[in-house]
Each structure stands twice: as structure tokens, then as C-alpha cells.
Amino acid sequence: MPCIWGQHNGSQLFCAVVILPPSGAVPANQTAATALIDTGATTTGITTALAAQLQMQPVGIMQIHGVGGVQNHNSHLFLVGFPFAFPPGAPLPAGHPPPPPGQMPIQLHVLQKVIQGCAFRGGGPFQVLLGMDVISVGSLVVQGNGTFSFSF
């Protein structure tokens, strides 16, 4: 069971994710995004800027509570992947491409659930908001020593 872990600041949890098409194919230009883990969100969202960057097409409309009332937002289908760095010195699996010079080799663990998430205008320090549709698939542990883990 894959498990990510990180440090929290006492008020918010962030982690790195990769947004993939429903097919699971990893685009050549794929880059990691920063995600806020939010147990108060029922649905996962991605910023409109990230959706445009990934050339994602809307598959429908979702209604979302907003400050001014209910708003309509484009929805997208995608998979959420969590990048892991290989331990230093660990051998790479057969067929795994070598990392660019100066970078750590990364492996990707993908949550095996297609998410229908909404697009929203960002502007904060993250491009993805992970809601309970993702969190409830696994186990999220937040600890008092300033760390958290998510296994799935």
C-alpha cells in the first residue's frame, strides 16, 4: 500500500500530485502540482490554469457552493498520482527511465479511482484541492509532531 508523508504547519496540509488523464497515460510534459488536502471539501478541484496547461477538456458542469451562492463550474475527469522519490542509491526498476542530470528519480503511484472534479480560479499557493472523494479512498493521519501521512 503506497504511503506518502510530509510535514504540516499546524493549519494546512500540502503535498505534491500529478494530474493524469482517465486513461492513466503519463504525458511527456507532465509536471507535479502542489495540492492542499482539505477534509472540508466534498469534491476535488483543479485550477483553471492547470486545466488549461494540461489541455483538459470539460466533461460537464458541477454546482459548487461559493461565497455568493451556488456557482456552475466546469468538471473534468482525471486520475491523481502521487510522486515518490526513490531512496538515494536504490536501484531503479527495469525499464524506468533515468532522471535528468541533477534530479532525483521519481516513481508515480496513481490512485485507482477516476475523479470527476471541478475547475476553479486559483491564485493561492496550490493548484489542486484534494477533497473527500480522494481522501476517503485511503487513510489520512495527522500527527501532533508536525507530520502527516496518507496511505491508499
Binding site: P22, L36, D38, T39, G40, A41, T42, T43, G45, T48, A51, Q57, P58, V59, G60, I61, M62, Q63, I64, H65, G66, V67, G68, V70, Q71, N72, H73, N74, S75, L77, V114, Q116, C118, A119, F120, R121, G124, L129, G131
Partner: protein
């Protein structure tokens, strides 16, 4: 108006249609995912992925929508209650 529909136009029109039909759909298909093309429902599926797979196989131009049959309104947590989301 262009004769070529864009994906955004398709999902916007399909959503207007879906909203009108939702009260009827809830009676027999609550919780399912509707596959919609040109304001017509062409199938009901248990998951969004199933609907997407069917839509991709049936419509090579990609012009279709997937709408979950529910009255629930989504919530983006902190962003829903403290930030202006901006419709997208």
C-alpha cells in the same frame, strides 16, 4: 454562429437540458451518471469512468457530457466559504 460546436458549448447546452430534466431523472436514476449528447441522454452508467469510456467509443469527436444525477451541491471546503471561486 459557427456550425462547429465546441466542447464548451456542448457541455453548457447539455447542462441546461440536464437541469430541466433532473426532477424526472431523480425518480428512477438517482446516483447514476448520464451520458448526454446534443441535449439527449444516450445512457446511464454506474460510474463516471464507465460513462466516459462509452462516450469516447461512441463519439469520436468527443462532444458529449457526463452529469451525475443528484441534487447535491459540491463544496470546496475553505475555498467555498472564504474565497471567491470564480465560475469556470
Amino acid at each position: 454562429m459557427s456550425a462547429v460546436r465546441t466542447k464548451q458549448e456542448e457541455v453548457d447546452r447539455n447542462f441546461e437540458f440536464f437541469q430541466r430534466e433532473l426532477p424526472n431523472l431523480l425518480r428512477e436514476h438517482a446516483g447514476k451518471f448520464a451520458l448526454i449528447r446534443t441535449c439527449e441522454i444516450t445512457g446511464f452508467y454506474d460510474t463516471a469512468q464507465d460513462a466516459y469510456t462509452a462516450g469516447s467509443q461512441l463519439y469520436a469527436d468527443g462532444l458529449f457530457s457526463i452529469q451525475r444525477i443528484t441534487q447535491e451541491i459540491g463544496d470546496l471546503g475553505f475555498y467555498s466559504h472564504a474565497m471567491h471561486l470564480g465560475a469556470a
